[in-house]
């Protein structure tokens, strides 16, 4: 569930139940974040979030009293995002994957002291830091970003990720390792004022 205070403007002329509006405001940031981090595209994430809440509306009788509503929404958002990505991938695979850049980030293991992000990012304000990391995440190729997000944000084990994505366990582990390396390199290139990356 969202920890942030909702800032959306009050609704006018609602025909939806007020309870559903409150419900949506409580969870919309979480749903949108899940979809945006998986797809790496805000417009697609908004479409997916809309679809998630329309499904939630259909099951609102059950969800409004359920203590696991957040988990339900997150699962639906994850599944819809993965469906969207696989549909898009299948449609455009032939045209867009001229060469698959599996080596992205491989040769760029940053030399860095990974003691703690707080130390690494000290001197950078929280918003700037968030924007950096989100931008770095978006820059990752899809085959690295998706398993990374499922592992670190959704807490899925490697086996479940492999099953969800229909790839081998070894590939998932390799992609996640490369994603971490690439992410660290991108963050380093972003240029923290005090950073000691030497990528």
């Amino acid at each position: 569930m969202n920890d942030d205070t909702p800032v959306q403007t009050p609704p006018t002329g609602l025909i939806t139940p007020a309870d559903f509006t409150t419900f949506m405001r409580n969870y919309q940031d979480m749903v949108f974040s899940t979809a945006a981090r998986l797809t790496g595209n805000d417009a697609q994430a908004e479409d997916i979030s809309q679809e998630v809440f329309l499904k939630a509306y259909e099951h609102f009788d059950m969800l409004q009293t359920s203590p696991t509503a957040g988990g339900w929404l997150k699962t639906v958002a994850t599944n819809l995002s993965l469906n969207h990505l696989s549909r898009y991938r299948n449609r455009w695979k032939f045209f867009s994957e001229y060469r698959r850049d599996d080596s992205a980030g491989e040769s760029e293991t940053p030399d860095v002291d990974f003691a703690a992000p707080d130390t690494f990012f000290s001197g950078v304000d929280a918003d700037e830091r968030r924007a950096w990391v989100e931008a770095a995440l978006e820059k990752l190729p899809e085959h690295q970003r998706v398993p990374l997000v499922l592992y670190h944000f959704e807490d899925l084990p490697y086996e479940d990720i492999a099953r969800k994505l229909g790839v081998s366990l070894a590939k998932v582990k390799t992609d996640i390792l490369r994603a971490r390396t690439a992410l660290a390199a991108i963050i380093a290139r972003s240029g923290a004022p005090h950073e000691n990356f030497s990528a």
Partner: protein, 153 residues
């Protein structure tokens, strides 16, 4: 110093988990409301079957069962000995124009059949192969152009 994979995992995990949820666009709420309103405004027969009134659902099921029964009876009747000539005689005056149109199409069909038989098979296969090759070449050119000019942009 190169970090170990464990240190890297820890660093990335802490970095990612420290991110707050991203703010949903302001337009999301209004879009969802509009979509719900649009759904609610749909007449019942355009909504999902589960949303139909009970009477309509029952009537639909009864009607479907009746149509299925009629279709099965018609098949059984036809299989039991349907006399096509009898039917043609009964409707011959009303549908004389059908015979005229049918005659025209038969003549056209015969013409193309004659032409087809006159062409050596090798020409036909060669023509088909040429069309397939041109199609593949066009598809390949399109894919290459997309990859080079658009996908890498």
């Amino acid at each position: 110093m190169k970090p170990s994979p464990e240190d890297l995992e820890k660093f990335i995990h802490q970095t990612l988990r420290s991110l707050p949820a991203r703010r949903a666009p302001l337009s999301l709420e209004s879009r969802v409301r509009a979509a719900i309103e649009a759904r609610a405004a749909l007449p019942w027969w355009r909504q999902s079957f589960a949303a139909w009134p009970v009477a309509a659902r029952v009537a639909f099921l009864i009607g479907s069962a009746g149509i299925a029964k009629l279709a099965i009876m018609a098949v059984v009747w036809a299989m039991a000995g349907f006399d096509g000539a009898l039917l043609a005689n009964a409707f011959s005056t009303q549908f004389a124009w059908v015979q005229t149109v049918s005659g025209v199409f038969t003549a056209i069909g015969n013409f193309f059949g004659t032409v087809y038989r006159a062409i050596p098979p090798l020409w036909l296969y060669g023509g088909l192969a040429a069309v397939a090759a041109l199609y593949a070449a066009l598809f390949g050119l399109g894919a290459t152009a997309y990859r080079l000019l658009y996908a890498n942009r």
